[in-house]
Every structure is written in structure tokens, then in C-alpha cells.
């Protein structure tokens, strides 16, 4: 209830008193703007495989990999796995230069301690090109860099079968392009980035896989994506490479180097359709690691229908690993998602979602589950 009160207070405050700051029509100097977002997500595991996995009592299901949000049937309705509040402050110095910081608070951030997910300086070289330096989320897949902006997608959450890595941000620089092609009928959005990111005792590695403090670093990150859109269709292609370092610390002071700067590449393709009523979403992604021979293949494909303030959506998602050089067992999952969204107003979306998940792993992982979720999601 403590969590619920906090989030409801945040939602109420912004719904009543705040709106996002618009772009200025004239360059009239320095300006500070504050915006934010909040998700109150309540979910319950309805059924699934009995047992345990690591610290969790099952039936259970993992719905957030970055911070490890896991629902357990034995805990009933849970609001403390995915709910969050984010605030973003931007200082616009002039038409070209601005600075932005975004902090996120959630139960898994060490009892609501805000974390800095974004902090960067942005400089517009001209009307098409922008360079940004600092910390940003990695725009790996279509929803990666706005994974927690619930009002921007039809589901309670983008498919966890696709969105799940221990590293979600990078410290570095990116060069972005935005402009028209084909006389303005299509637009091109492109970005190239480089940097690195280090985590210590990250939840993904430590809680899900190793159960002992594990650090992971992605070094020499270099990636880029290109998106073209005509406002109805959009197609996106992304490729990123990096060196993956992963070390586990044991109680006796020794360490195990799980990954030693293994060259890794991730490729992603997505094709989306946004008609007057019909919508479609698809993503096809692949992760490959040279040294370990690890390969992940994962996708989501879904279709929906919009009518007024309502959107209904069916989505199928799947991921699987393949045989590798290090003896890791095959892991995989297939999920069917039925989602319903209602736009209460321009800032608030209400959502309900039912997930049927089949664990295809060849070892005792989280297991099968069905999950019912409800969410109030807002941006302001």
C-alpha cells in the first residue's frame, strides 16, 4: 500500500497540474522544462509450473530482465515489480544547445533510490544533425530507449521475450540524423553511437543466473540504426557490436571470469504499421557471441485494432538460445499476449493484459505461467 500511495500521489500530481514543455517558437534564451512518466503495474500469476527457481517460488514469471521483476503466485497481486516514476529535467541554453537528465525511481532500485538513466548534453549541428554526449539508453530494439514510457505502446510492457539484457545504457556519444526523403513523403531517422557501460553486482546476472555477485561490462560499443517512415509504415534496421566482460565474485574471494571481452554483435529488424484502425508490430533480432558461440534468436509479431480510445492487440513472442561452446543449457520461451488499452485522456492510459507463457528451456528455469496484469500509465 505504501508503494500504491506513492505512485497514485505522483500520478495525481502530474495529471492535474503538469504538462510537457513545448518547443519554443522563437529562440528566446535559456529555459528549463520538467516532464515525467509513471507506471502503476499490478499483476498476479494465475497458474503455472509448481516448484522453485533460484530465490523465487513458482508458479512464477519474469517480466522485467533489467531490474529483475518477477511475479510469484504465492504473493498474490503484486504492485512492486514493475511500477515506477521517472522525472526528466531539460535545460535549453539556446536553439542548438541543451542538457537533459532523467532519473527513475522504482522498488527494485534499492528501495526507490533514484537512478540516473539518462544524462546528456545535446548540440544541434544544423536542422538535420545532432550530436549528444553523456549517458543514454541503448536504442537497441524498437522500444528499447522508451521501454518505460507506457503511453507510447499498446501493451502493459513490450514483450520480455525480446527486451531483456543486463546492460541497457551506455556512456558515450551519438550522432543523430532526422530529415525528409522522397520530397517529404518519407522521413529518415538515423543514429550512430559509441561508448561503454559497467555494472557491479547487476540484478540480471546475480539474481537470475549466478546467485553470487556478478559484474558485467559492455566495452567498445559501436552501433547504429536507420528508421524510415511514411507515418503509416515504419521500417527499422539496427546493428551493434561490443566486447562482453563478465566476472563472478565468490565468498572465498576468488573470481570466475565468465566472459573475457568476447566480441558480440546484435542485429535487429522491425516493421510496423499504424493505420487508421489496424496496427501491426514485428521485430526479429539476433545476438551472436564469437568466443562462446552463443546465439539468441528472438522475435515478436502482433496485430491490433484501434477504435476511438480503445486498442486491442494480440502478440506472439519467442526467444531461444542455441548450442554453444561453454555448455550453457538451451533456454527459451514462447508467449501469447492479449492486451487491451483505453486512453482515459491524453496523458493517462489504462491497460489490461493476459499472458500465456510456455517455457521451452532444457533445464529447470522459471517454467510455464499465465499472468494477468493491470496498469495505469501516464506521461506528463
Amino acid at each position: 500500500m505504501h508503494l500504491t500511495r506513492r505512485l497514485m500521489a505522483a500520478l495525481t500530481a502530474h495529471a492535474l497540474f503538469m504538462t510537457a514543455q513545448p518547443a519554443k517558437a522563437d529562440d528566446d534564451g535559456m529555459q528549463f522544462s520538467l516532464s515525467g512518466f509513471a507506471n502503476l503495474t499490478v499483476a498476479k500469476v494465475l497458474s503455472g509450473k509448481q516448484g522453485t527457481y533460484q530465490q523465487w517460488s513458482c508458479p512464477c514469471t519474469i517480466q522485467n530482465w533489467e531490474y529483475v521483476g518477477v511475479y510469484e503466485q504465492s504473493k498474490g497481486w503484486q504492485a512492486d515489480q514493475e511500477s515506477l516514476v521517472g522525472l526528466q529535467g531539460s535545460l535549453r541554453v539556446n536553439d542548438s544547445l541543451s542538457g537533459t537528465m532523467q532519473v527513475l525511481s522504482r522498488p527494485h532500485n534499492d528501495n526507490y533510490r533514484p537512478s540516473v538513466d539518462w544524462a546528456y548534453v545535446s548540440y544541434a549541428l544544423n536542422d538535420q544533425w545532432t550530436i549528444q554526449v553523456g549517458r543514454k539508453r541503448i536504442p537497441l530494439y524498437y522500444y528499447s530507449d522508451f521501454l518505460y514510457i507506457g503511453t507510447a505502446y499498446p501493451w502493459v510492457r513490450p514483450a520480455p521475450d525480446v527486451y531483456g539484457w543486463p546492460i541497457y545504457a551506455y556512456d558515450g556519444a551519438n550522432l543523430a540524423y532526422s530529415g525528409a526523403i522522397d520530397g517529404g513523403s518519407w522521413t529518415l531517422d538515423a543514429n550512430a553511437w559509441a561508448g561503454s557501460f559497467n555494472t557491479r553486482n547487476d540484478a540480471y546476472d546475480t539474481k537470475i543466473y549466478y546467485t553470487q555477485p556478478t559484474d558485467e561490462a559492455w566495452r567498445d560499443i559501436a552501433g547504429g540504426y536507420v528508421t524510415i517512415s511514411d507515418g503509416v509504415w515504419s521500417a527499422r534496421a539496427m546493428l551493434m557490436t561490443f566486447k562482453d566482460q563478465q566476472v563472478t565474485h565468490h565468498p572465498d574471494g576468488t573470481i570466475t571470469v565468465n566472459l573475457d571481452n568476447d566480441r558480440t554483435s546484435i542485429g535487429a529488424l522491425s516493421l510496423n504499421y499504424d493505420g487508421s484502425h489496424f496496427i501491426a508490430r514485428s521485430e526479429f533480432n539476433r545476438f551472436q557471441q564469437a568466443g562462446t558461440g552463443s546465439t539468441y534468436n528472438y522475435f515478436l509479431a502482433g496485430g491490433g485494432y484501434k477504435q476511438g480510445a480503445w486498442t486491442g492487440m494480440y502478440t506472439l513472442s519467442h526467444y531461444t538460445t542455441t548450442f554453444n561452446n561453454i555448455g550453457s543449457p538451451i533456454e527459451g520461451r514462447r508467449t501469447q499476449t492479449f492486451a487491451l488499452r483505453y486512453d482515459l485522456n491524453k496523458n493517462v492510459a489504462l491497460k489490461a493484459q493476459y499472458d500465456i507463457s510456455v517455457d521451452e528451456s532444457r533445464y529447470d528455469f522459471f517454467g510455464n505461467s499465465t499472468l494477468m496484469s493491470f496498469a495505469i500509465q501516464s506521461s506528463f
Binding site: A15, Q102, F146
Partner: protein
């Protein structure tokens, strides 16, 4: 109380006549097509086809003109426009156009600055602005 407030925010009447997308009379921009207007108002393109800077200005969010303009030009509801801008704001890609009141206020602002582009009631068009696209 909170639910009452948000419900009230969500229930705005929608009714407007033909709209004209206008620039200053001195702006050399030729006529624009549907896609070009949408791209400018969604921040995907920041210049006119001539290459000159283009800065869109909105009427008040939720106003009949706002709802009609985005409904017909971008085929998005007010909530969908808001969702689009949420994504842009929180990924550092842009921010929505500045709100500038009603047709009279937008016309006055646009007519005085050749970088601006706005939409007004078609009946309000006069010699101070040039129509580059019509929303019927």
C-alpha cells in the same frame, strides 16, 4: 476527485470547420503536401522544402482545431499525438510545438515570423498569411 478531474480532461467537444495551414506572406515556401505538413508538425522534418527553417506552432491542445488538424493530417487522436511526443521527449529527439492560443493568435504570430507555420480557421485567412495546405 482525481478520477473526476482526469475524466473531465478527457471529455472535450470536437467540432471545427475547414482549416488552412499558413505561413507568413513573405515566406517563399511553395504549397506543401499532406505528408510534408505531417512531418513538420511531428518534428521529423525541421525545414521547408526550400531548405529554410520551419518551426510549427499549435493551437491549444484539445481545442477543436487541434483535434481536427491532427486527426486529419496525422490520423492520430489527441492521446496518440501525446503518446508520440512522450516518446520523442524521453528519447531526446524533440519536443512538441509551442501552443499559441486560437486562430487569431496563431495568425498574428505566424504573420510576423517567416520561420513559423501554423493552422487556423480557413475563414480567418487574410493577406498577412499564405496558405500552403488546406485541411477540409
Amino acid at each position: 476527485m482525481w478520477w473526476g478531474a482526469v475524466l473531465a480532461l478527457g471529455c472535450r467537444a470536437v467540432a471545427a470547420g475547414p482549416l488552412a495551414v499558413v505561413v507568413a506572406a513573405s515566406n517563399p515556401s511553395p504549397k506543401l503536401n499532406h505528408d510534408q505538413v505531417a512531418a513538420i508538425f511531428l518534428g521529423a522534418v525541421k525545414t521547408f522544402p526550400s531548405g529554410n527553417k520551419a518551426v510549427p506552432v499549435d493551437q491549444v491542445q484539445g481545442s477543436p482545431a487541434y483535434v481536427q488538424f491532427y486527426g486529419q493530417v496525422t490520423e492520430k487522436s489527441e492521446a496518440q499525438v501525446r503518446a508520440y511526443w512522450s516518446r520523442m521527449i524521453f528519447t531526446g529527439k524533440g519536443s512538441p510545438p509551442q501552443e499559441n492560443g486560437d486562430s487569431a493568435a496563431v495568425k498574428k504570430l505566424v504573420s510576423s515570423n517567416p520561420t513559423l507555420i501554423g493552422y487556423i480557421d480557413a475563414a480567418a485567412v487574410d493577406g498577412s498569411v499564405k496558405v500552403v495546405y488546406e485541411v477540409k
